[in-house]
Amino acid sequence: MRVLLPVEPLDQTAKQTTAAADGAPAVEVLSAEKVFANGARGLAPIDLSIADGEFLTLIGPSGCGKSTLLKLIANLIEPSDGRLLWWRGDFAQVGQEGRRLAFVFQEPTLMPWARVEANVRLPLEFGNMPRATAEPKVADAIARVGLSKFNRHFPRQLSGGMKMRVSIARALVTNPNLLLMDEPFGALDEFTRNKLDDDLVNLSWERKLTTVFVTHSIYEAVFLSTRIIVMAANPGRIFRVMTIDQPQPRDQGFRDSPKFAAYCRELSTWLAEASLQSVGGGGS
């Protein structure tokens, strides 16, 4: 039991290195709740700390407030009560180097009149980055999602999966630290979805992205996440939390493993329970 002594300094150095890599949580949700204009309680007060580099998935029956929570984290809506911190500060300092946020919507939301490269360049143009500086970043982001051959194409010439890749490239081009995704692959077939999940898990690992991901798919949640938040409705709340103990990056091997199946089974049970807990009781 005296092992504690040598462990102590080791732990210290570990802390120091993580502190150097900005070990503070990326996002803290502090008793934030959301009551909608019509009086409906979208979210009961929620406490959640999202660690730097974590892949966090929000899953739950419809109406459980997972999208609302994601929008709170994106500062697209404000909490009715409580507050949120981004890198231990308020939202005003988000956007600075090392504190960038990007959002990927359910739909690709590309500009139909602009070529792939122009679509990806858009976020850089908001910051008035000169073309010459932007060009290599754009090319790199497009290459990362494997669409280099298509950079002169218009969105309508691409398949649904490719459009979603463009949308992801557009999110990556600003070199974000926090990536928020709202059911990005929900409209795609399972094969395409798996392929994009494979790429996403690699990308977020390589770039040390903190990712918050909303999905309806149990398999997707288990495959991607380091932590899964199972939510329940009426009112929206955190029901249970599952940690996926599998090193990143992951590949098809993980999907085929009994461990993966076990996680899926458990998550499925939890979701069923969450659904049962979500019926009635809410509203007034």
Binding site: G95, F105, E107, T109, M111, P112, W113, E125
Partner: protein, 266 residues
């Protein structure tokens, strides 16, 4: 490779042309057999002969009408677009001014043309003003609608990235409004021609600066019905060419991306 007569482009041109030829043939033969007098209703050959015979004067009249039409069209496009931009800048401006745009639209140009012709000394200018008033509304309403019809997802994306008002206008609103704007152009180009002709009817100006409408009036006075038809034919032809030009313009501008102009692909 499909044979020519099966190709889409060929059918598109050949079918209406065939219908036209049949109509003209029936008209010509029927009127010949019934020996309808030319001062009542001319045959196609009479009209063609008149077109050749009165060529120079008709051509001069055509140029006058065309000038008024194009001036009015350009003025309507510039003014209409500016007004549309003003409307989308603030809801208050649109709410307070849009009823007057409607008022302008529903007032028949024939009714206000005499007033404008009295107020404005220069006939050409007064005709242009009348035609502009007719052509203005589709540009205003279509462009305003276009500038407002922003994809909500994209608008969200722009907002999230804290895009400036100017960037949002240039990168999102204007490109998104183009299909609507070109739709407005098609309607407006035809209306500019109608406005020009109607205003000229009201003004009834003769002499060197007379347009096709005056040719029609004059032909009516002298019972030179084939000349009347020849002038009418030129007006119609001008309208068709203007419309075709607008279609080509919108095709050129939108073919890359907009559903209305893209060919179905595999």
């Amino acid at each position: 490779m499909k044979p020519l007569f099966e190709s889409e482009a060929f059918v598109r041109i050949a079918a209406p042309v065939a219908v036209g030829i049949v109509l003209f043939a029936v008209w010509e033969i029927g009127f010949r057999l019934a020996s309808v007098p030319v001062y009542l209703f001319p045959k196609p050959t009479d009209i063609f002969a008149s077109l050749l015979h009165n060529g120079p004067s008709l051509l001069r009249a055509l140029l006058v009408t065309l000038r008024v039409t194009l001036q009015a069209f350009v003025a309507a496009v510039i003014l209409g677009t500016l007004i549309a931009f003003m409307f989308v800048q603030s809801r208050a401006i649109e709410v307070s001014l849009f009823p007057y745009a409607v008022l302008l639209q529903v007032t028949p140009v024939v009714a206000i043309a005499p007033l404008i012709i009295i107020l404005v000394k220069n006939t050409q200018l007064s005709l242009t003003i009348c035609a502009t008033l007719v052509a203005l509304f589709p540009i205003i309403s279509n462009t305003t609608l276009g500038l407002r019809s922003v994809d909500p997802g994209l608008a969200n994306f722009f907002r999230m990235n804290r895009a400036s008002r100017f960037k949002t206008l240039v990168k999102l609103r204007i490109p998104g409004a183009l299909p609507y704007f070109f739709g407005g152009l098609r309607i407006s180009s035809g209306l500019a021609l109608i406005g020009a002709v109607v205003a000229e009817f009201v003004a009834g100006t003769g002499g060197r600066s007379s347009g096709l409408a005056y040719e029609i009036l004059d032909a009516g006075f002298t019972l030179d019905i084939p000349r009347m038809f020849a002038a009418l034919f030129l007006i119609t032809l001008t309208g068709v060419l203007l419309f075709a030009a607008m279609v080509a313009l919108s095709q050129w501008a939108l073919s890359d991306w907009h559903d209305s102009e893209t060919k179905a692909e595999a």
